[in-house]
Amino acid sequence: MRRLLAGLAAVVLAGSLAACGTDSDKGTTEGGIDQVKVGVIPIIDVAPIYLGKEKGFFSSRKIELTMEAGQGGAAIVPGVVSDQFQFGFSNMTSLMIAQTKSVPIKAVAAGVASTGEAGKDFGAVVVKADSAIKTAKDLAGKKISVNTLKNIGDTVTRESVRKAGGDPATLNFVEMPFPNMPAALADGQVDAAWVVEPQLSTIKAAGGREVASTFVDAAPNLTVAAYFTSSKLQQSDPDLVARFTEAINESLTYADSHPDEVRAVLASYTKIDEKLRATLVLPKWPTQINEASVQRLSDLGTTDGIFTGAPDLEKLLP
């Protein structure tokens, strides 16, 4: 009797909670058109996919694209693996971390790359105007903010310090979201900040100084991020993956050669004001994943101990 009642109670509770949910919809084929959801972070890096959608590069390949712009990338890898998104955008280090944890994912196209020019890249370590830190070497022993610990930010910053002759082991990294960094730096909560655009431009406009072009120091023409899918989709629908890759590549090429249109499309999914849009440094959007640079990033990450095992790039890269 008691057990019966307990079971009944559990059913009532579970039922009432389940009633609160809705079914998640999956990408389905309707009249030969694939509904594709892509998990992205609403930042400058993904401007080509928005531009490509506008230009019809996806619809011409029978792909109806929806961007799921979650904040932060944490939800993207699980979202792709659980088939809530068919594709996702993530930085290379995060993808390698997932790969070493045997998460079944596969990169399908290049995402974004460093400009390769020191002082003119879209990410850097910056300090306050009156800081005693002059070069990357001076960062030793200092407090530096990164958006995620044990990820691409601290890896490339360590490399900049190492190259400048400093001791990377003494760096004290703290985690905070990019938007908090300008204030934290101005307040002196951190000595230096590893930031990307548009915060990089904001800090520089307030008098901040760049002390290390970290992506440039890490490797020539570093591939910073990539679009990826689940190994499952790669096997079950190789045609869709191929069409997506083609569309992304066309978008990347178009974006790379039409910076004005990129700056304009930013207004459609970010709230960056016109002045900032006109001045910020755009990254490069090559269609090739620079494998040597990814290998370098993998080696640096392994040296820093952020991977549980060496990443298998053969498996990860297309």
């Binding site: 009633a19 609160c20 949910g21 930042i43 799921e68 904040q71 204030a183 307030a206 709230k271």
Partner: protein
């Protein structure tokens, strides 16, 4: 419980004027603090610039879509939570064995912050409306459930036994004895749940990136659009005030017949 409205604190002046003076003072403070350099205006712009950003924002379709998405997530989540909370509350509350059995479970589940369930919500429902609904429902459900349980426990046993001896069916006992007694508690639950549901709807959008005002705040923040970010925060505050007003007015209107609102001495 809602207290009876008797003569207000007349000597303090017009309550409406006082109610307006509060926000007006706050606006003045926010206008002056950055202007005289108390805070950096890059991080807290003066109220007039926030107002200007609000006007600009209100001129965009994106803003109204986001507002609609937040409100519909709030309303849907609240409705589901209230329905589930009332049904579960009446069932659990009227069966003493069930109540004893679930007491510890309810006390265990209830304090779990909805926000802690975000990873689970994302796994189950992705970054769409579904995950917002789950968080909203979870948080709002307990507010209603607990109030309904109290309401059911408050039923006058004599009245209940009388109904029983008049051979009222189980449904009639719930409809004519239990429900009228529990109703003020239900409304308290709904009023509490309405505020909690809004908080959770905005939180889910902000953290998960589900569509709505919360996500617009996150996008504004990531875009270095500081005045716009504050403008959107102001909107969420106004929503909170409106929802509270709506809940209170609704409670007074719908319970106008009830002794707790009439303000008469009971029995």
């Amino acid at each position: 419980m809602t207290t009876a409205r008797r003569d207000g604190p007349a000597r303090l002046g017009n309550p409406v004027l006082l109610g307006i003076a509060g926000p007006a003072g706050l606006l003045l403070l926010i206008e002056l603090a950055p202007r005289i350099g108390l805070v950096d205006e890059r991080y807290l712009p003066p109220a007039s610039r926030i107002g200007a950003a609000l006007v600009t924002e209100a001129g965009t379709g994106v803003f109204w879509t986001a507002l609609w998405e937040t409100l519909s997530a709030w309303a849907l989540g609240l409705a589901l939570a209230v329905a589930a909370g009332v049904v579960a509350g009446i069932v659990i509350g009227s069966v003493p064995v069930l109540r004893a059995l679930t007491a510890s479970t309810v006390e265990f589940l209830r304090p779990i912050p909805s926000v802690a369930l975000i990873p689970l919500a994302v796994l189950l429902y992705g970054t769409d409306l579904g995950s917002t609904l789950m968080l909203v429902c979870y948080a709002a459900f307990w507010q209603v459930l607990v109030q309904v349980l109290y309401g059911v426990a408050d039923v006058d046993p004599v009245a209940f036994e009388t109904a029983r001896s008049f051979r009222f069916s189980a449904w009639a006992r719930i409809r004519y004895v239990l429900w009228p007694t529990a109703l003020p508690y239900v409304f308290t639950g709904i009023r509490l749940a309405a505020s909690v549901a809004l908080v959770l709807a905005i939180t889910a959008e902000l953290v998960i990136g589900a569509p709505g005002l919360g996500r617009e705040i996150a996008v504004a923040q990531a875009s270095e659009a500081v005045p716009t970010m504050y403008a959107l925060i102001v909107v969420t505050g106004v929503l909170g005030v409106l929802i509270n007003l709506l809940a209170r007015t609704g409670e007074r209107r719908l319970l106008a017949w009830h002794q707790s609102v009439r303000g008469e001495v009971a029995l």
